[in-house]
Structure formats: C-alpha cells, structure tokens
Symmetry: C2
Subunit: 336 residues, 2 copies
C-alpha cells in the first residue's frame, strides 16, 4: 500500500469516529482521499478536516469503491453488515467492533506489540477492546522480560467508553443531584453520578461479562500466549474520559521493580509516571487526551512470589480505539 | 460488664463519632450514661440523643472517671494520648484509629468473625480498618468453607472515609467544574471530582500504602491466619458514601459458587445481592446507610483453579467503623 492512501471512516459522527479524524490530521497521515460515512440521519452534515470541509455520506452498500482502507467504528451491528462490502470493493477494513476480533483469519493488533500480525489479514484487521489495549501496553514489555503467567485486573472505566450520550448522562445526573431533582437514566441501568457500577457489557453464563472476558481472550491472541490466565472485573466510574486499570501480574521468572521499570521505559507508547515521594501517579483527569498510556504504583506484589502490581491509565478513545486503529493503518501504509 | 453501661465517645462531632451516637440509639444499647468528648473548639455544642440534649465536653486528661466503655474515633494522634488515661480510669477503650491494631495485647475484632478475641483485652480493643472489615465480612464465611490462601483486592473508596471535609470537597469541586471555575483542593492532593486517585493513606518504602497493607496485616490477625497473602490497591473514587471492593480469592479446597453463596447467606451481617439476569449487584449509592455488607458478581474465577471473584460493598461509616465499634461494646455488655 505504497504512496498516499484513500481512507474511509464508517461511524464518523460517533465519539471514536471523530477522534479517528483528529488523529489522522494530527499524525499527518499521508491521505490520497478521505470519505466519511454515517447513518442517513447524519448524512449531509459538514465536518472540518485539515482546513477543508468534508460532507458526511450516507452509509450504503456499494459506497466503498476506490478506497484502500476503511476504518469502522459504528457498533457491533454495522460492521458484520458492511465490512464484507468494503472488502469486496478492494479495501482493507480496520474494525473497532468486537464482531471479528476472535476469528482465526482476522489479525487482532496493537502495533507496538504485534504489528507483524497485520500482514496475515484477509481483508479485515480488528482493533482490540479499549481496556485490553491499555492493560497490554503495560503488560507486553513485562511479558517479554519476565514471562507472563497470570493477570488479575479491576477496571475503572470512564463513561465516554459508552459514547457521547453517556457523557451527557453523567453531566445531566450531576445537575439533577445538585438541584435535588429526580435522576433520570437513559444509557446506564443505574445512576452513574456519585456511584460506581460493577457491570460493563452483557453478562455471560459464567457470571463474567463479555467485556471482562475480552481481556483474557484478546490478550492471549495479541500476546501469542494461549495459556495466559486472566481474571478481570470491569467497573464503570463517574469519570468523563480515560480508563484506569489496577493490575496484579504473576510471572514465570523472578521479577525486580528496576527491571520492570526499564522494560516499560524502553517500550514505545507507554511511559512511567510513578513517584510516590511527590504523589505522582497517573490519573484519568491528567491522561485524557494523551496518546501514550501511563504506568504508576509499580511495586513488587505481596500475594505472589514472582508478582508485580501496578496501575495503568490510558485515553480509551485514543490508544484504546481511534489512535490504535490509525496506527494499524500506518503499519499497512509503511508495509513490511 | 452486666447491666447498663456508661459509655463515652471521643471525637463525637466527627463523621464516625456522630454515627456511633446514632447506632447506639438505633440499636437501643442499654446505656447507664452517655458522655461526649471533642476538642475545645466543639465543647459546649449540644447534640440530640434519644429525646434528650447532650452537651459536648472538652477532651482532657482525667475526664473518664465513672465510664465503663469509651469509644475513640478521633484520629491517630488522639488515641495514643488519651486512651491510656481512659484505661487507667477503669474503662475499656474501643479504638477506631490504627494506633493499637497490630499490638499483641490488643484484640482486633469484627464481632461476627472473632468476637471471642474481645475477652483477651488489657483495656484496649481495636476496631479494624474500614475496607478490611467490609472485605472480611465476605471472605470469612468463604475461608471457613474453603480455606483462604491468597487475596487480590482493588478498592473503590468513598470520600466520606476521609471525613466530613472530604464530602464538602467533592461537592465544592463538582460545582466548580460545572460553573467553569478553577478547582480548589484542601483534603486530597489531586482533584477528586470526575477523577479517581490511586492513593489512600501514606506511602511505604515497598510502594504499597499503609491503607493497602492493613488488609493483609489486619486480615491475618482477625482471621487467625498468619500465612494469608493479600495484595491490595486502594483507590479513592468520587462517591459520597460506602466503599466497594473487587476481590479475587484463591482457596485451599475446590470451590463451588452454590457453596460459596450458601456460606455467605448463612453468615450474619453479610447478604448476597447478586442476580445478573435482573442487573442486580450492590452499588455504593444503594448500600449507603445500611448495616449489612452486600456481595454480588460472585463467580468461579478464571485465573485460579480454586478461585472465586466477587464484589462487596459496605457503608464504611457503619459496618466499617461506628457499627462495628458498637457491636464490640455489645459483646462486652453481653459477656462471654
């Protein structure tokens, strides 16, 4: 895919779609053309991009002719319906939904970790789950150094992970609580303002949610580590943007904090922000809007002989979604 | 300590002290007398109790004569200074600070778990850390059933755990964010509104905080299980009241969810609130103000062969502090 690339975005008016556009502009992706698609409701809207105005087109079958890459971020229903159409038109699909992630012939890629997997695609490359990407950005360098055996993670997930309407819901509920009005709910089944909800995505028979199992299933695929064991608990918190994850990891080899810190420092896309003496640790309020993931509270774990505990924060709309998808597009443009 | 008991409360104007008074009244504790103590600043204030008005007395040496039990909830500095004076005056001290908890001759008691330890006291009985109590209320019945080996916990702690000023801080910051004003900080080192702070209590050399180590140290003492391994990460969240804890526990014996649920159901002071089909799980907003602790999201753990995952929520001012202290006073009144 040498030279300038003709890119389409499906779901361009959503929280992630808009970030994709910003990321393409900020990273000066070498575009041959850019076209935006959304539902009929949004078609005709104009969007600024690199000093020009783009008009949103209605998503329909047959619109993808002439595109090299189509970034999909339009929910689980849209991708299975339209991605094959884009592939048939000759484009490579980079899909942000969970629809294709676990299919054998679909690479699941975090470019800093397994960029090489991109080249095994058969038309579709999947973008992983947001909490999984952020957690793996810290775990991957530790896995290379010490050999990962087991992960226990608890998440603190921001409302923007549920889209723009969830941001409005938190704002509205905070106002309702302040003024003593009855709190109304549209996005979440329970009040999120001044509360935490231990429930993200649908429940499975096992008692885990789909979101929780993504960290094990997608983590195994991305790290090429089929025996990895992951237990995850996903919790929504009243934060607007950036997900935080509390992680305990057990390793095959003896661990040391200095070695762990050096491994993370040397890994692209993740940084240490960790100095207890100055009360420095990553928090969602500081990390929102940043490309990199940040690790703090790194320490030798109390519960495992070869264990490390840490806290990792990343912007789930950027590295957890839009940025990672654009980075995959960059890998395709660069080639092997 | 048969018959009516003469009780004093030190720190009666604090968030926990006020709850102690309410709990004594609500549980119809058989009082022979009640006296309230606070700093000179609060002395003379009047407080309603069981239809009467009580006048707050200034805390000074020599004020404890004639009291049978003195409940201390006045921070780490006050207890070491005044508790010995109360003991010398013939009272039993039930202390909510961390000052005496790990001393060999001081029982550390959660009455549902180790009430018998109360009777080994030498004048002082310690009330455990709030997150520790709430987590152990779920773990104790599971430990009796399956034999606890290892615990990994991440907390979601409400601001009222830091006292009444922290409640005001969250309220004030939410208003400041809403109106676009600069956010001011007095209690926490970072903004708590619309943020999470992975830091509760002071940092230790190991990289853990004091609060985090309480769950291992106090857990071992309360459960009489010196080899228990606990790794805890404590996080402050923008919730007013009730702490939540995400727990993964590994056991010696094979586990089953039905047996775990039965063990928790049969244990006093903790209840199951767990039905994924109806999106039922405990949340701090629902549990605030309740005496019992509530367990949800109970499931066979993915990461351990003999593991269980769950989510437990409790009101940290009640079972996590005031209620537990009054329950200890009830054990003393009842006797062996």
């Amino acid at each position: 895919m040498a030279g300038d690339v003709r890119v389409g975005i499906v779901g361009a008016t959503g929280a992630v779609g808009m970030e994709m556009l910003r990321v393409l502009e900020a990273r000066r992706y070498r575009l041959g053309a850019i076209r935006l698609f959304a539902s009929a409701r949004s078609a005709g809207r104009r969007v600024k991009f690199a000093g020009e105005e783009l008009v949103i087109e209605e998503l329909k079958k047959g619109v993808f002719q002439g595109l090299d890459i189509v970034l999909f971020s339009a929910g689980g229903g849209t991708s299975p319906e339209y991605a094959p159409d884009a592939v048939a038109a000759g484009a490579v699909v980079i899909d942000n939904s969970s629809a294709f992630r676990m299919k054998d012939d679909v690479p699941l890629v975090v470019p800093e970790i397994n960029a090489g997997d991109c080249f095994g695609h058969r038309g579709i490359i999947a973008n992983p789950n947001c909490s999984t990407i952020i957690t793996l950005m810290a775990l991957a360098p530790l896995h290379r150094t010490f050999g990962l055996r087991r992960v226990i993670a608890s998440t603190y997930q921001a409302v923007s992970g549920s889209g723009a309407m969830a941001i409005e819901e938190l704002k509205r509920q905070v106002g309702q609580v302040s003024s003593g009005e009855a709190v109304t709910r549209e996005v979440y089944p329970h009040q999120i303002a001044f509360n935490v909800i231990p429930h993200v995505d649908q429940f499975l028979e096992s008692g885990y949610t789909k979101e929780e199992m993504k960290m094990e299933n997608e983590g195994r695929k991305i790290l090429h580590h089929p025996s990895l064991r992951v237990s995850c608990t996903c919790v929504r918190v009243p934060v607007y943007r950036a997900h935080s994850i509390s992680v305990v990891a057990e390793f095959e080899k003896a661990v040391d904090v200095a070695g762990a810190r050096a491994a993370i420092d040397a890994f692209s896309g993740v940084e240490m922000k960790d100095d207890p003496a100055t009360l420095t640790y990553p928090m969602p309020l500081d990390i929102a809007g940043m490309d990199d993931c940040f690790v703090g509270r790194l320490r030798r774990d109390c519960a495992f002989e070869n264990g490390l505990s840490f806290w990792v924060v990343g912007d789930q709309l950027l590295k957890g979604a839009a940025l990672n998808a654009v980075q995959i597009a960059e890998v395709l443009q660069r080639g092997r």
